[in-house]
Symmetry: D3
Subunit: 284 residues, 6 copies
């Protein structure tokens, strides 16, 4: 190491400069609206730390993070306690990245952070499609009177995108009203990931934002999340779905809801790191 340089901590293998990079990572450590168990604010820091336990090379794809250019811009300093201010900061960061023709890769935080990114996206991509893998519908009108809540994030996105442009998979929790709402307004697949292939064909070349709420996974594979949900999909199912989706025109993506304080074994964080490696290699 040159004596003037810091030994800075990026996500594993993501040490390219901004200019040359096609993907730009940023962390959105925000969980103020989490109704149940907070902790996702620690996800991006934990994932950077723990990424050094995995390899840059993917035997699944026979590709290596060393062969692609990703810039890890670190974490936003979000004003905990104000969802509106935090969303504005996220929107601004995402906007900067897409205005430079790059793909934003956001590490949440609670799922509400997705709204900030989608707000930026729809300004540039008028026909944006949204693919959501999640255990929860997140379609409530409000949650205890609050509209900017993680439990409402897809409803808020719906208000930006309109009917038929949100594709939901793996959903297994919600109110009766949310499931009713989905019947008329979104494309929802309950419980599993079947139908991804048809969705890919239907979307074609339209720009896609992909949001991954890690609780779509079965709670045996990902216990460390705000609301662990049993009955979910397996890692290999999820890998298959991401591979399918990688054929689309992905203009931005995120990975959310890892909650490190509940990850005593570290297995959930390790899984999230591996998924992020695979997503970056697939979507590059």
């Amino acid at each position: 190491m040159n004596r003037f340089e810091r030994n800075v901590q990026n996500f594993l293998g993501c040490d390219s400069g901004y200019e040359e990079s096609k993907i730009v990572i940023f962390g959105a450590p925000f969980d103020s609206t989490t109704s149940y168990r907070p902790g996702t604010r620690f996800a991006s820091a934990a994932m950077r730390n723990e990424s050094y336990g995995i390899e840059t090379y993917s035997p699944y794809q026979d590709k290596d993070l060393e062969d692609i250019c990703v810039f890890d811009s670190g974490d936003l300093e979000l004003p905990i306690g104000s969802a509106e201010l935090a969303l504005a900061d996220i929107e601004s960061r995402a906007e900067m990245i897409i205005s430079d023709g790059k793909i934003p890769c956001m590490i949440g935080g609670e799922h509400l952070v997705t709204l900030g990114a989608v707000r930026a996206m729809v300004k540039k991509y008028a026909d944006l499609q949204l693919i959501q893998l999640d255990a929860h519908a997140d379609l409530r009108e409000d949650y205890l009177g609050v509209q900017l809540s993680h439990a409402c994030v897809m409803r808020r996105c719906y208000e930006l995108l309109g009917d038929g442009r949100i594709f939901q998979f793996g959903i297994r929790s919600g109110t009766r009203e949310e499931f009713e709402f989905a019947k008329s307004h979104t494309n929802m697949r309950k419980f599993d990931l079947a139908g991804i292939e048809e969705t890919v064909q239907k979307i074609g070349q339209k720009p896609v934002y992909f949001t991954l709420d890690l609780d779509v996974l079965d709670s045996s594979q990902l216990p460390a999340t705000g609301t662990p949900e049993v009955g979910g999909v397996s890692f290999l199912d999820l890998m298959g779905a991401i591979k399918e989706i990688s054929g689309l025109n992905i203009v931005g993506f995120d990975i959310n809801e890892l909650s490190p304080p509940y990850d005593q074994s570290g297995a959930s964080t390790a899984l999230a790191c591996k998924l992020l490696r695979e997503m970056m290699l697939y979507f590059y």
Copy 2:
């Protein structure tokens, strides 16, 4: 809230009055005979706390706890240290509930608590059948000289019910003697839940007490139990079995052996809450 009322804590959505309710919940926080790792005494309190992380609505059944009437009577104050006194209290509570024509739903506690409920049941239902989902046979004559032990609970129930009326599924741990005993005296299915359908047909309309030891699940899905056992069934397998059983005449049921001190991630408690929701909706 009216100023004279407490904001009392029930299991999610179980806030009906006693008179109107068909199911009555009570907790049996007892684990004094647990030979290995105690902690199940905290299960009922933890499940009430954590139940607010799930929804009242079940997308599996398209039913909602808000649509049925359940009274949560809270926990028994059991004399830790005396199995005999504790069983007497449990028996008395179960007897009161069935004498009012309602279905008792007991949250253990170690598995020994089932004996208290079964003692009450056999007094009212002479031809009671017992379905047990469990990793352990629990058929020992005694355990280090103690007969009222969790490891002996099914043997004690057998003494009340006699040959052929106990149906055991998922059993994968025990002494050679227990497996031998089962060949002559109970209906035991090793390792998995195959054969539930035939059991349902065989039992017909006879009254059934259903006891669920959560360690029947694979330890990946339910690590937080006194004796986690790998090689078990999955949540979806278990849901399938409960659905089958729901066609029977269930006169009482329990859910046992969740051990919250070993549930750092909370995923086991969340699973137990979801199972209890589904059981109440199925057995109502």
Copy 3:
């Protein structure tokens, strides 16, 4: 237990009715503005659960909770994610209690919840004095642009009360600006609790709201808080201060910042329960 009654969970020994009670407990499970480590939202539930590990009798005072009348009204259902709505609910609850001539005893939550109570208090008591025991000054104008933040709560209270009516003890963390502000506007004692006696004399019979941020204690005695601070006071020092204060006209009080997810041993929660018992016995 009568069959129509629930075995409801109050804080230990606080099972009197509302009408007869002089002190009314309520929980304020809110931590959305916590900048560092959330978790205090779980404090009131944890304290009720764990209170059964202590006794109703205080050998320090030779008094017993069984001899006084306290009503535990349970927890407010606060809208996580909106500080303004949450404060309004707290204010409303505190207002109801004081309008009935009773003393509100609030269990936080992060320290911001105190603002809700103080807003109610100043409407009834124009000359309200505020005694704060805390490691942190909490006097910032804003925190990352947010004014309703736990780091600003005393500044917001100051805006309601004005110069010289806030008495701060044990303060050992803050920005240089906060310490400067205190010199002109509050009565601040750094590091320890010396000077309580003079404060008591100075205040005389004016009405006092007493707010206890548990991090005033040394982090060895109370590690389970959002921002554990070493170099603090001991439990016995704190007990001495509370005894001194008990001679004042206490019209409301709170206990804040216990964070149960960080209390693996349970010792912090046990300490908080004991303190609450002593405070109720002293302030009754």
Copy 4:
């Protein structure tokens, strides 16, 4: 290592043979009557494991465990679930040791185990005196109807010993009735260890059983116990008291109530190991 020998695990430095030893250690892993948080059954195993983190040499006494002869006889296999059977096993082990003219050193377990040892002691030593260092009086007549409970252990010992022969120090929790009982029947020092010196003089050369409930320590120094109690004594205070006591005719002693499941940092177990080393060196 000779190929026929096992590499067995003793408490650090306690590897002498039975015949040559003056002190004989045994573990009493029993916690079935623990009303609040079980876990002390794991104490003796944890202390053996963790003892290798300390040294055999005491700089406090300038003595070394290598220079004395202690036999570690391992743990009793106690019938969890039956206090009466467990106490009989403990009594029998203690009796064997004292009949050989050796000093039993018991590692609990919950405090009830002391009753088993005292039963053996009083048969041999008619004028036995009992010194108890504890946060709790343990003088209840019964606990929820159970008489063989950790909360009643000193009351049961009192029934064997009679008035004035139990010396209690550090007591800071109990019911009003227990404190009243102590006034007439035991010698109780509340809160701290003052008065040990007078006690030592008063007892003179009568045989003494010394029982140490670790919760006499402040919960900051020993959080990992069934019922952590703040406001206790420091390690150095306790060391001073043990030194005083070591001048007496100690015919047996125990160390109780360490609960390893609540000791995430390991600091409590390390402390208990160091205390046991010091006690053995002092009482040899």
Copy 5:
């Protein structure tokens, strides 16, 4: 218990004498080269402690540990900090056991310990074959300049055995170079355990050392390991593979990489204990 005997702790049911035993267990508590999260040094102690939570009887094989003769020789006292010295001690212990015609069963420790055993094995068995079940290839030439590293252990074994004698299954992590190396020099099966049957046929009656790195299991079933890896095999898959392998001429075996500090629930340690029971029953 005779008063002169210790109540020593073996792995469950492994209390035969050395002479009569066919399998000899020893622990190799070494993890000094672990690059990521140390802790496997505690595995052998934890497995002995926790083995009492399982049964001696295997319903999978209808065999019982009570019916076979195994000697548990305890743990080596390895010089933490020096891989070379530690390997020499392991080699020496393994050599002693095989020179007496017995089968060594080593409990690691990190995977590097296998090198010590293999060094002993190749001296006696010139045509030794090595079967490795693992998530990681462990084929690096060096790791940050260190050649005796867990990440290089199979490369070091390769240097002893040569081409084609190492059979690797379940491999899903490594550098591109390791996967390239394997193509020419070892028999590697990526991701799963397919092909075990052919391997068994190919090896025939040649002597086999079997090394099990527990991270071959999916991280949902075994989270408590140094580097948990999702996407692995299930317990039942692994049991099937061990059954296949048991037909071979197994002259030594080990089980590695359990990390108890990351096993809050105890489920990983319980799984490892069960696997060890099954391996001993299969390989006897």
Copy 6:
């Protein structure tokens, strides 16, 4: 943030450039020789993360980290498994920093890392004095045959410095031999920090390396260390000693043995961060 810059993570307030800085921080994440409980390799990363929970301003000194220039150069990438290589890297980094006229501030790691720094120091400062605050003497000739062990680090330093130049305080654990050795060769104060003032006078203006093993603190205040030791000094005692020492010519310093995996509450890491802030402000 400028789009080309990373939001890099330094220790709180240590974001000056290398050239302008007087103190240069580096992490030495090494714990391979830790004989008991590894984990200190995670200390530097944890302290950077958690430093954002404290303030840059010290009310103890009325100084602010914002007012001084410190460069945080990040962590060395040390070859886990080879003490010799790791020490060479540490020596090289320390040498670079002192050759530029700056003060190295090393965050360990286990205490062995101090040897690397001292090796660099003695080359530049022939009359280097060493002040060590520690619970352990660390004066063994070897530990299980290994000479480069944390338990031997002061013995190795002694070999570089010679008689009378090592000043040890707070020592309360070691073998009899170590305490004997100290009598002839070092200046050792047992148990507490008395005598710092005389030491300061004795040393005068000679260059001093200051090494702080955090286990000098009582285990109640710092439980999260490799070998927690009760009976130690308090935080305020330690602050007093550091203040005394700050009058000396400190040419380098370190802080060692924080073990974040054992810090569930975070209180130990918070304490270490505060101490580091105070040390930098005192030694600047």
